[in-house]
Amino acid sequence: MIRFDGISSFDPVSAAGILARASMHLDDDANPAGEGRVAGEAEIRDRIMRQLRAFLGVRESDTSEHTRALLVDALDEAAEELLSPTDEQATLASLSNKGELPSDLYLVVLDSAVQEYLGSHFESESILVRQTVQSPDREQHFNAGADGEQGATDVKNTLISLFSRFFLSKFPARSFTLLVTGQRYGMTMRVVQALRIYSDVVDLNGTKDLLDMLQRFTNRFGTDVAINDSKPSAFLVSEHTPDADNKLSWDFAIQKSEAKGDRIWVSQFGGRLPGQNAFKAITTAINLDKYLRFVGSRGWEIR
């Protein structure tokens, strides 16, 4: 590891900046980010380059591409060694908390309830779910914020992510948007809902966000529920406070049932508000059998 005389008087961060700019300038002198920022940086850079060439045994007159690449790599390495290492896994987990982790880095697992209702279609559908999470057309994340920051939407401070992806079939009626809802735990995305939305039965025009898309779906396939004293709805946003034993409890009262014997799938996801005991939740109540009958009528295959 070479120790450059020209930067010995600088703190490590400033010295790393000087080396990084030297590397950028050498790699692409048209990039203004490589211009000097500190007083006398041009002279410092000259000293660094002379010292580096001597260290690598490269003549001053050698301006070949190979040598240039060698010098650039050496500068990058030297800059890297000046800074304390980044804990990449911890940083990526922190990005996940904020809803800023690239979605193709998530380990996607499907909740047992989703596995159960998909039944024999689980294997094929889980491929579509993974595609939707890892390469979505749209995504929306609710986060707990950092240091008490509020989330960006009305449903705040819950580690929920929604993803949508359009799957085209050669038969137009079979094309659909898959809407996936997941709860983030570190680098894991636990899928709690995966719903096919066919645009001829659920109007997606003017959908303002994915939560809106989910609500429109429940308008078609939902059934009203009430939580505690709430007004019945198929799509509820509610706040709950744990009891003295730190347990959450609520009673679902199903207000409507369109067909006798149909299964009603109540799905709830949410999280605690930072610094508070309250739990904020989105609750959807879907007539599962009505939905599954409909998807069955369209066909599960998307060929």
């Binding site: 900046g17 990084a20 990039n31 203004p32 800074l83 990449e88 922190s94 800023e100 193709d104």
Partner: protein
């Protein structure tokens, strides 16, 4: 004088970093020709190098991402550039150590999604006074190439082809 619209292909993560860490100020290379190679032979546009063609960069980057090409020279170059930029931004205190770590962790991760191309469509008139016409040694070819050093998020549309 440049045409009424300028085009610039960038990686999605470049747009994201500019939005998150640079107050929405983007550094871009741009061209008034989306596809210089469809320009008439002998024209200035036809002399733009393939590596400076917005369409060329878009198609190459999309292909590299779709095929998850670990030897992609474009992605390798972008990764190195962001690692260097992160150090200079940390040194001038325009980002914190936490933000530096986020940039490093993101570009070093296994994500392909972050490198997907996006096209900036830039109306020329509002940015005309800030266009930098790059002199020949700094260009990849003989055709005209331009930079804008401080393009604001409100000054362009982002398109995914």
């Amino acid at each position: 004088m440049a045409g009424p619209v300028l085009y610039s292909t960038n990686s999605w993560i470049a747009h994201e970093f500019a939005t998150r860490y640079r107050g929405g100020s983007h550094f871009v290379w741009c061209s008034e020709h989306y596809d210089p190679h469809s320009a008439p032979a002998g024209s200035a546009a036809a002399a733009i190098a393939p590596s400076s063609s917005p369409k060329g960069i878009y198609d190459t980057l999309r292909g590299d991402c779709d095929r998850e090409d670990r030897h992609s020279s474009l992605i390798r170059g972008y990764r190195k550039t962001f690692l260097r930029l992160a150090k200079t931004w940390l040194a001038d205190k325009s980002i914190s150590k936490q933000q530096y770590d986020e940039i490093v962790s993101t570009v070093k991760s296994n994500s392909w999604r972050i490198w997907r191309p996006v096209l900036f469509v830039i109306p020329e008139e509002p940015v005309r006074s800030r266009i930098v016409h790059v002199a020949h040694p700094g260009r990849a070819g003989y055709g005209p190439e331009m930079q804008i050093h401080d393009l604001k998020s409100t000054e362009f549309d982002v398109i995914v082809l």
